[in-house]
Symmetry: C2
Subunit: 373 residues, 2 copies
DNA sequence: TTGAAAGCGTTACCAA
DNA sequence: TTGGTAACGCTTTCAA
């Protein structure tokens, strides 16, 4: 006989009492075990029984309880995700194309490996996610002594983050090769004839920007050049544009600008234009940005991509590998950036307007104008 | 005596056998019940015992198993989130400021109500999330007969989406008032002197764009004006800019442009400039966009905000209210858009460059240039 | 004040 | 081939 436990509802008033495995079993005149095997395609069951169990389950609208399965399975296939940067400021990290692409790619990659991503609040305390059945976590751009990072490590939850966690048990890191990236940009600008290369960078302790500024200063020292650094103190396009204006109106007016601060490239061009500077004739421009508008700007803007997709993939892969193998061995990887050279940083490049005029030549036939009513 | 069940490891090789409640109980010489009460602050325990239990738990590094608590509690406080638009195209929905702000706001609002968001893949089949213990789901901009929407409804998982789910049991909808939005924009442009208002819209079946185009055509009919519609067929800034160029080179050249397609506003200005059109003197411009660069463009661009934050808040609130009350009663809400009028749509507005020249006057002292090395 | 035992809903082992 | 029973780890009722 199958047991018939009396149901004692507790908690939220359940509108419809959920159909459980026992309910299906009772209705089908089978045992829980048999029905479970039938639905999961496991065990050795006669086709007739299997089909009957399935039919009854379908008829009753049975849905296995995910939480119960999770408890049995011992893992939830859930990865927590948080971004450490800009803990306070207005406008979340989602305003940055770098972070949106990173977030999107992490979610996609995790999903491909069978894990779903749980969005955690920036700057939250470890207690808030203690009730979530997370198998692992990813913290992008952690703050110094990030409470989230420390919390996950203390909870022995495998963690993927940046180089600041290097070597700690159960952690994995991915970082961008800032040194190489900066050198590539500066060497490129110098080869194009730039002699006074200014940099606009955000005033954050984020590892990439710190490392990038260090690399810039080293490069300047090697070249015997004067570092020209302007800091943008708050996130957002407004402050970034102001920083550009300040940078370009310096006594020793630069002949090239390397925007490390993430800003909308057309806006940077606007700023230069307002100051009477023609890009690339008077000013070479390179923007560290993932903004797709760079390619369509006038002139198209050279960008340094921090390759958020690669960072995401590597971070997830290291984490998943450790998860599957059960290893606590820390691992890490360095990702190469990508310099996409466009007109804005090529001495002798076409001035603004050129590309557009050409484009107007091959007007497409897709135009649809509704007829007069 | 406390039971001492032999641990039989199964599944992934656990590097460190997790500390369970019984382990703490045994070590402290107490029962599971007592330790549980001590840690949760429930029951009536002597301060001494409570402290001892806590001390032992701390010493052993005990972490309650979230899944087990969830099974008891009957809910996971997890909300699934997916976006239906652009199921195939390259570049995810995360490329759009509207969706990033929506996503960010939904996550924040949900968290504030005690729910965490689980990112689901766009266009996934219902099987893929069947193992996730979701209490509810949100599908932004669902496709027609979206499999995700149908799956959630079939699984009796409370759902928040757009108006297409209106009236179905356990569903909630939030939509933007497209009709009112379009009328406000067109009336504004007409009041500024526009007579031939062109529209560029994406070629998607998304409810907002469909409704907006309908409203535009109705308005034109009322005014006895000719609808001038150009469709941008693919997502992204490139196709949007091309559509703008097509729209502005029409035989009956428009004197105002209403960009429904989400594009980077400075890029739209660029396109107009390349065609020899000065904004706002020759062309009034309004962009439906959440892009913050609109305010900093030259001239600043008037935007129609679809208020993703309001949409997010309302959607989550309706869902949470239903979750807490256990009601299956469908609910819904209409959100008002917001027209942010700037120079680009004001006849007689300041030409490009003006704002910047003023700004250069009050140069700030924040500039930091490193001294020569 | 403390603790034994009964669930929560599922899957896996092993006996019938 | 099928089914009883014992976990998974926790909270809670109820009896001592």
């Amino acid at each position: 006989m199958t047991e018939t436990p009396p149901r004692r509802d507790h908690g939220v008033p359940a509108a419809v009492p959920r159909v459980r495995l026992v309910d299906v079993a009772r209705e089908a005149g089978l045992s829980k075990t048999t029905v479970s095997a039938a639905l999961n395609g496991t065990g050795r069951l006669s086709p007739a029984v299997r089909e009957r169990a399935r039919e009854v389950a379908r008829r009753l609208g049975y849905r296995p309880n995910p939480t119960a399965r999770l408890l049995r399975a011992g893992h939830a296939r859930l990865i927590g995700y948080a971004v450490g940067e800009y803990p306070t400021g207005p406008g979340s990290y989602m305003d940055s194309p770098y972070f949106t692409q990173l977030t999107s790619a992490i979610a996609t990659t995790a999903l491909r490996h069978g894990y779903a991503l749980v969005l955690l609040p920036t700057g939250s305390s470890p207690d808030e996610w203690a009730d979530l059945p997370l198998d692992a976590a990813i913290v992008a751009d952690p703050l110094a002594d990030d409470p989230l990072v420390e919390g996950f490590i203390a909870a022995r939850i495998p963690l993927s983050s940046d180089r600041s966690v290097e070597g700690r048990s159960g952690t994995h890191w991915v970082d961008v090769d800032a040194e190489a990236a900066v050198r590539e940009v500066l060497d490129h600008l110098r080869a194009q004839g730039a002699r006074r290369i200014a940099v606009v960078a955000p005033d954050t302790p984020t590892s990439f920007y710190t490392a990038a500024l260090d690399a810039y200063r080293r490069w300047c020292a090697e070249q015997g050049a004067t570092p020209l650094v302007t800091l943008s103190t708050r996130p957002g396009n407004g402050p970034a544009v102001e920083a550009v204006e300040r940078s370009l109106t310096t006594p020793d007016r630069p002949d090239a600008l390397f925007m490390l601060t993430e800003a909308n490239p057309p806006l940077v061009l606007d700023a230069a234009r307002r100051l009477g500077l023609s890009v690339p004739a008077d000013l070479l421009l390179v923007c560290a940005s993932e903004d797709t508008s760079a390619a369509h700007a006038d002139p198209p803007v050279t960008t340094l991509s921090l390759q958020p997709v690669s960072v995401a993939e590597k971070g997830v892969e290291l984490l998943v590998a450790a998860l599957e193998s059960g290893s606590l061995e820390p691992t890490g990887a360095l990702v190469r950036t990508r310099l996409e050279i466009r007109t804005s940083s090529e001495r002798g490049g076409e001035p603004a307007g050129g590309a557009a005029l050409r484009r107007r030549g091959r007007q497409e036939a897709e135009y649809t104008s509704a007829p007069p009513t």
